[in-house]
Structure formats: structure tokens, C-alpha cells
């Protein structure tokens, strides 16, 4: 093969985000606790996990909205700027799509103003109207002129999400980070928005990092999947690998509880979403791990490793059993 491998668009290495607990005397929250992740140009990567696993914090860190307390994030070969002006310039290239479209647009602004806001912030006045129209029409709001003077409350939920995406696309970014982009939308609208995101990736080569708890969404649009548990990536690979042949017991459990997925026996983990102020020693998943709990780890002679050694991500999975 003579193809030159282009460097990844985004490289996260050993990233950590720790913040002080709200309550005085509380332990620090280790929301992101040593994440390694790369996103290639033009791919759609789904970052999946339960709420509280740190996936949203990681996404915010990628956008420079949340400072890292350790590790590094490289974007297009250089590390994220720290200065105000550097961050401003960076935010032109990396855009965010939110979970709740209704909350993320100002109800007092017209659709035109909302979409043009990014251009105005970055003082790109030239061809403003044409660029706004183009962004709207890319996002399926056609004819765009008809939407200029309308207000968010006159639009449906799906249309509002399209406006949010148009507001991001108008700056022609190279990375789109979508945080649960369809979880607040009606079921019948969901497919349309996913089609739009998939289209942006396929037709325009957009790189998309989509944060979700929904494995079905990953199946629908992602090229690769990264599974996150308690601030760490525990398994990463192509969508087919992860969703058809998961290695990590956590991924297996997550997959088994997807309704309608009746090929697998359900492995419902007990307890609530784990607590990032108390990360277990050894493998952070072992207190809820079916393999460890059933005594199988003991039989295989890896139990001491599960409780004592923090597994590293080797061969795309961080598990003593899988890496045996």
C-alpha cells in the first residue's frame, strides 16, 4: 500500500480532569482519569458509557471548555492552546452540538441570528447571509430564506436541532462534538438527525465525536466505538468489533441490556452508576464485574490482578481476563 497515513485529527493522551467536590471536605471528583484516545480525520467515533462515567467531561475538555489537570490533547498535530485568543481561534475549528436543542438556542433570537452568531463572534462579516443560507440548507432547512426570520418556538424539536447543527457548520469546522444529539428528540425525528450527521461525515468528510449512552445510535452511524467506565476508556475498536464481539465484561453487560438485543443473556449489573469520588483500586470495574463476582476470575487465577493491578489498554481492551 502506497497510501500515506495521515496523522489523526485528535489525540488524547493520559488526559485527566479532577475537580473539587461541591461540598466542603468532599473528596475530589476524578471525572476523567487517564484517557488515551485518537480520532482520525473523517471518522465518526462514538464515546459510550453510563451517566457519570466522564464522557461529557471528556468532550468538554476536547473543546477546551474544561481545563485538563493532567495529560494532553493534540488537535491537528499541535496541543490545545491555553491562551484566551488561542482558544477562541481553536473553537472556530471544533464545534459542539448539544443534547437539548431547545435550551441551547436563545428564544429571543431569530434563526438567522442564531446561525450567524458564530460568524459574528469571529468577526467574519463577509458573505454572512450566503454562508448562513448555505449552512441552513446543508442541514436540511430548505429553502433557507424561509427560516431566517422565524423564532425557535415556531420550530419543532427536530428543526431546532438542525438549527443548532447549522450554527456549528456555518464556521466550517473540522471537528464536530455531538453530546447525546438525539436523546431529547422524539423517536420518529431521531433517525432524520442521525442521517444528517452521517451525511455530514460521508459527504463532507466531517470528523464527528458523538457522546452517547445509546449503543443503537453507535450502530447506526459510528465507524468506531470507545467504551468509557469511571473516567477511563475500557475498550475501543471498530463498531462491528465492539458491538458484535465485545471483549470487556463491562461492554458485554452494556450490550446485553439493550432492549431487543435478545441474542445475549441479560447481565444486569447491580448498583447505581459508579461514583467518581471513590474509584476502586485494581481494575476499577471489579466490584461490579460479573466475571470477578461469579468467582470465575478466582478460578482463572487472575483475581489478585483484578483487585490489585490497574489494567492498561492493550489490544484495544483494558481487562486482565481479555489480556491474559
Amino acid at each position: 500500500m502506497s497510501e500515506v497515513v495521515s496523522p489523526p485529527l485528535l489525540e488524547v493522551a493520559g488526559a485527566k480532569v479532577t475537580y473539587e467536590a461541591r461540598r466542603r471536605g468532599g473528596l475530589p471528583v476524578r471525572a476523567v482519569d487517564g484517557v488515551d484516545l485518537t480520532v482520525q480525520r473523517g471518522e465518526v467515533l462514538a464515546l459510550v458509557g453510563e451517566s457519570g462515567c466522564g464522557k461529557t467531561t471528556l468532550a468538554r475538555a476536547v473543546l477546551g471548555l474544561q481545563p485538563l489537570s493532567g495529560g494532553s490533547i493534540n488537535f491537528a498535530g499541535s496541543s490545545l492552546p491555553r491562551s484566551k485568543s488561542g482558544l477562541r481561534a481553536y473553537r472556530r475549528k471544533a464545534q459542539l452540538v448539544f443534547q437539548d436543542p431547545t435550551g441551547s438556542i436563545n428564544p429571543r433570537q431569530s434563526i438567522y441570528e442564531i446561525v450567524a452568531e458564530g460568524l459574528r463572534i469571529h468577526r467574519e462579516r463577509a458573505d454572512e447571509e450566503a454562508r448562513v443560507a448555505a449552512a441552513l440548507s446543508i442541514c436540511g432547512l430548505r429553502p433557507p430564506e424561509q427560516f431566517f426570520l422565524r423564532f425557535p418556538h415556531e420550530l419543532s424539536g427536530g428543526q431546532r436541532q438542525r438549527v443548532v447543527i447549522a450554527g456549528a457548520m456555518v464556521l466550517e469546522p473540522s471537528l464536530l462534538v455531538a453530546d447525546e444529539p438525539v436523546s431529547s428528540l422524539d423517536a420518529s425525528v431521531r433517525g432524520e438527525i442521525l442521517q444528517l450527521l452521517l451525511g455530514l461525515s460521508r459527504d463532507r468528510g466531517m470528523t464527528i465525536l458523538v457522546v452517547t449512552h445509546d449503543l443503537g445510535l453507535a450502530w447506526n452511524i459510528a465507524d468506531r466505538v470507545a467504551v468509557m467506565y469511571l473516567g477511563r476508556i475500557v475498550e475501543v475498536g471498530t463498531t462491528e468489533q465492539i458491538l458484535a464481539a465485545p471483549q470487556h465484561p463491562y461492554t458485554k453487560a452494556l450490550l446485553s441490556v439493550v432492549p431487543e438485543h435478545d441474542k445475549m443473556e441479560q447481565q444486569i449489573l447491580t448498583g447505581e452508576a459508579p461514583d467518581p469520588t471513590h474509584i476502586p483500586t485494581g481494575c476499577r470495574f471489579h466490584p461490579r464485574c460479573p466475571v470477578y463476582q461469579s468467582g470465575e476470575a478466582e478460578r482463572l487465577g487472575i483475581a489478585h490482578a483484578c483487585t490489585g493491578v490497574d489494567p492498561v489498554l492493550t489490544n484495544s481492551v483494558a481487562c486482565h481476563l481479555a489480556n491474559r
Binding site: 433517525g191 432524520e192 442521517q195 447505581e272
Partner: protein, 313 residues
């Protein structure tokens, strides 16, 4: 065969608003046998919650309900207030969605469950009920804000079981919960339903959730039923184009036809104040013809125990 536990005939629910009457439910008929679980699916604004709440007349002042609701042989809509209060919770209890705000923040959960028992002179024990739903007895002194979302939903279920009802109305009981906790609660509901022989109406916007709990499915669109039939078969092979779209929205993982091909439905759910003429689904329907816009179509049998409201079937 005994009579069905619940029979609903031609139910209409119309809210009063500043812009005029809002018809949320527009003629729904259905029935539920003892011990059976009916999954009621539909998007926001389809009228599914309004319908469920109307079963116990839990609607805002000024709302009109017409038609008939027969619960264990008695017409709920004709009941006097005293009788209605006695029926509420003792015969049919509700597990509300969210559980975030459905528990009173200033009372301990013990008191809130005990209140239900006392109101109906039941003899359930709070601690036993909590244990049945997987909450340790000693937590009964907790206030709602001290519990996690999943625990609150369990408390809500314990409260619903307090007076040993025959019917449980579960209104989006897992919507606000995380995937794993959702699975826990679904399993709990399924176990309780089996052990106690409860009849259940399970309301959700997520069709896939129903596969684990429901015997039969009813799908609502714009205040009307569009399809009803056996759950397993319907999820695998829906007949009405709307149900098909809804089922396809949540793909089966591993099914190659949906890989990198999210399927959606053009357009948006209709405004209940401006429902399209004829078949209300026709503006978004991939197989609609001119006829659909003109003809109002009723639910009709397409195979035994399976009905759909579509001209093309």
C-alpha cells in the same frame, strides 16, 4: 374466560387552554385482561399519558372526558368522588415518569408510603414493601433527595404496590434512568408483575423497551390508536407504516440493514390543535395516497388479534 379487567370505549380527552380546547385523546377503545401487560407507545403529544391519566380521572380542572372506562365492572367516569378516591390506588395505582418530582420533598418516604396504606386501610408494611423492591428497610427514614434516581423509582413502585392493586399504570417509568438502572427497574417490574399477577399498562416512547415487558402493544398517533396486536410479533413485523418507522428508529444491533443507515421519518409529530384531515399520519406516510387525506380510517382487524388503522392494510 372472565371479563376483562379494563375496558375503554371511545375515550376522548379534551384540555382547556388559553388558545381553545386541545383534543389530546380522540376516540380510543381498548381492553386489558387480568394479569396482562399492555404496552402503550407513542411520541410526545400522541396522547398516551393523557389517556392513562384519564383512566383514573387524574386530569386538570376544566378537562372534559367522554366515552366510558370500565374498571373491574364499574364505570370510572360515572363514579362519585368518594368512590373514585377509594378506587384510586386500591384498584389501580400509578408509577409516574421521572420520579424526580413525584415524591414530596418534605416528607420521609416511609410517611409517603404509609399514607397510601392508611388512606385505604390496607395492612401492608412499609419495610416489607421496600424490601420487595430492593431497598434496605433502614432507608425508610430517608427523604427523597437522599436517594438516587433509580432508588426513587423503586420507592414509587413500592408505593404503588402498597394497597395491592390489580392494575398498575406505569407512565414512562424508566425514561429518566440510565441504561443499566433502566434494565434493573424493567426487570423488577416484570418480576412483580409475574409474582403478583398484576395487570399493567406500560407507557413509553421507546418501542424497544416494550419487548421485555409487554404481552400486547398499542401504538398511538395524534390521539388515536393506529395499531394494536401481540407484542413480539408486532415488534418484529409491524404493519402500520408509523409503527414500522417507530420500530426502525431503535435499530437491532447486529442487523446489517440498519448498519450506517439510520432510518427516520420525514416531518414532525402533529400539533394536537391542528391534526391533519383523514388519516392523521398521511403527511408523513411513505405510502400515502390522495385517498388517505380524505378518508378517516378506523382500527380494523388485519389478522386475528391484530388491528391497524390504515387504508392500505
Amino acid at each position: 374466560m372472565s371479563d376483562p379487567l379494563l375496558v375503554v370505549r371511545d375515550l376522548h380527552v379534551t384540555y382547556r387552554s388559553s388558545r381553545g380546547p386541545v383534543p389530546a385523546v380522540r376516540g380510543v377503545s381498548l381492553h386489558l385482561d387480568r394479569g396482562e401487560t399492555l404496552g402503550l407507545a407513542g411520541e410526545s403529544g400522541s396522547g398516551k399519558s393523557s389517556m392513562a391519566m384519564a383512566l383514573l380521572r387524574l386530569v386538570p380542572v376544566g378537562t372534559t372526558i367522554t366515552g366510558s372506562v370500565t374498571l373491574a365492572g364499574e364505570d370510572v367516569l360515572a363514579m362519585k368522588p368518594g368512590r373514585l378516591r377509594a378506587v384510586r390506588w386500591a384498584e389501580a395505582a400509578v408509577v409516574f415518569q421521572g420520579a424526580q418530582h413525584v415524591l414530596n420533598p418534605v416528607h420521609r418516604i416511609r410517611r409517603q408510603i404509609q399514607e397510601a396504606i392508611d388512606t385505604h386501610r390496607g395492612n401492608g408494611k412499609v419495610a416489607d414493601l421496600l424490601e420487595q423492591v430492593g431497598i434496605p428497610r433502614w432507608r425508610s427514614d430517608a427523604y427523597p433527595h437522599e436517594l438516587s434516581g433509580g432508588q426513587k423509582q423503586r420507592v414509587m413502585i413500592a408505593m404503588a404496590l402498597a394497597c395491592d392493586p390489580e392494575l398498575l399504570i406505569a407512565d414512562e417509568p424508566t425514561t429518566a434512568l440510565d441504561v443499566m438502572v433502566q434494565a434493573q427497574v424493567l426487570q423488577l417490574l416484570a418480576d412483580l408483575q409475574r409474582d403478583r399477577g398484576l395487570a399493567m399498562i406500560f407507557i413509553t416512547h421507546d418501542l424497544s423497551v416494550l419487548s421485555t415487558v409487554a404481552d400486547r402493544l398499542a401504538v398511538m398517533y395524534a390521539g388515536r390508536l393506529v395499531e394494536t396486536g401481540p407484542a413480539k410479533e408486532m415488534l418484529r413485523g409491524a404493519r402500520h407504516p408509523y409503527t414500522k418507522a417507530l420500530a426502525a428508529a431503535f435499530p437491532t444491533i447486529g442487523d446489517q440493514s440498519s448498519r450506517l443507515a439510520p432510518s427516520g421519518l420525514a416531518g414532525d409529530p402533529p400539533d394536537p390543535m391542528a391534526v391533519p384531515s383523514g388519516c392523521p399520519f398521511h403527511p408523513r406516510c411513505p405510502i400515502a395516497t390522495e385517498e388517505c387525506a380524505a378518508t378517516m380510517v378506523e382500527l380494523h382487524e388485519i389478522s386475528p388479534g391484530w388491528e391497524a388503522a390504515c387504508l392500505k392494510l
